[in-house]
Symmetry: C2
Subunit: 247 residues, 2 copies
DNA sequence: GCGCCTATGTTCGCTGGCGTACAGACAGGC
DNA sequence: GCCTGTCTGTACGCCAGCGAACATAGGCGC
């Protein structure tokens, strides 16, 4: 990608007022995120908060028997490491890079100072946390009631929202890990979606051809999370990025 | 129950320093919570935060097709209405009284003022919120991977932790709604647990005879949530209740 | 250009939980 | 003390998803 990196590529950082942003910017460090990188594991002390720009991070739980399940994802709309300001410092979950890319990271102490400052950053982070809770809530219900195909559609759409192109780079095996289902189940569901003309895939690449088609087959969960996230964060959005917005 | 009601019966209220507590106490109102009462529904504006003493509230999601699933529960260890201070004001979920009892409620504005005061209340509420997130996270994974019987054990244990006696008053039908499974599935699992001598039940009453037995059959999820909740809140616990603690 | 590794396709039997249906049995109200 | 409504027990067929096993094929490294 020829585009220059910028913290503005992360929605949370993009809406900070200039004064707040300038205070932070010296501490922001651009880091590459490789597929499979583990940002933290259960009980581990987080040292940084991560604000993804092009990377996507999966918050997942691994059961004692080794089965995994993604309960929430974080892309350029959010941040990884809410427990740093919630007071717990660690969590029982893991954070794994699901789509390679970049993120800006901020040392733990700086984030905590900024949170206690009571500026926009605090309300922004709290609202984002509520959006994250909505996502977790919805995933829980989705895991109980919806089919693999519905969940695959939900997952594809959510991932698509976090990347610039219409093509995701991932294998069916990895998707199966995220959803916590068998790889074969993903193969079958993906095959049906391809037959329907909604997606096209080849070894590790999935191109979305018909977004509306996927939305029609997805369960409500995708729309609920998207709508709620937008409600929680939209009135804060674009303050800095579009200072002269007309409407 | 002959015991007098007291805000101290709620763990969060019990640990507030006297000065903080006294400021709030005039605004605390004891309210009865009847089985099935809905404290809020998706999108509705919350007017109060609820601190249960003997009641238990279920945070659940109802799918478009009408299926329900409890994603987290709130008893005397916590509060209902975190979205009031998270900034969203409402949520996409419902809160329903699962076990009748009492709670103290606090008007929305008072809670928000107190939260912004930066006292212990703020860190307490944030830590509790993280505990709630842990619960949601774990329920999501549990819904994906564990059997009805394991989940029933988890649910019984979690409920037991929130009531004084060893007997819960609920029907299998209601439990099925909480877990998001069929009533028959609960009947079968409960029958096995009774055969094993862990519980005994009759029309709407379940007595737990062997807690350790249930723990052995439950999935790890119960222990994970319990341990993490205790980690997040224990060092704050008992500040007021045991002002002269020795160690 | 060849070969190997890894991703995907397909099958088979199995089982947990679902939807439906109905029978018994307990408990509270009158 | 009876009756009725609710709660619980049981049975049936069905299907989504699981676990295991193996076949095929695409793409990268050399």
């Amino acid at each position: 990608m020829a585009l220059a990196h910028s913290p503005d590529q992360n929605h949370l950082l993009a809406v900070l007022p200039n004064t707040d942003f300038e205070r932070l910017s010296a501490h922001l460090e651009l880091v590459p995120m490789l597929l499979g990188d583990m940002l933290y594991e259960p009980g581990g002390q987080l040292q940084h908060a991560y604000f993804p720009t092009s990377a996507i991070v999966s918050l997942q739980y691994i059961t004692e028997s080794g089965a995994s399940a993604e309960i929430a994802g974080v892309g350029n709309e959010g941040m990884v490491g809410v427990s740093l300001f919630m007071g717990g410092d660690t969590t029982t979950s893991s954070a794994v890079v699901q789509t390679a890319g970049h993120a800006y990271r901020l040392p733990r102490g700086i984030l905590q100072l900024e949170f206690d400052r009571l500026g926009l950053m605090k309300s922004l982070l709290l609202r984002y946390t509520q959006a994250l809770m909505t996502q977790m809530f919805q995933t829980g219900a989705c895991n109980r009631h919806h089919s693999v195909e519905q969940q695959l559609c939900r997952w594809l759409l959510a991932t698509l929202d976090r990347i610039p192109s219409g093509e995701l780079v991932t294998t069916q095996e990895l998707i199966a890990n995220m959803l916590g289902v068998r790889r074969e189940g993903v193969t079958e569901a993906a095959g049906r979606l391809q037959d329907a003309g909604f997606i096209r895939y080849r070894r590790g690449h999935i191109a979305v051809l018909d977004r509306a088609g996927l939305e029609a087959r997805a369960c409500e969960c995708y729309a609920v999370v998207r709508k709620e996230t937008s409600r929680l964060l939209s009135d804060l959005r674009q303050r800095r990025a579009e200072p002269t917005a007309i409407r």
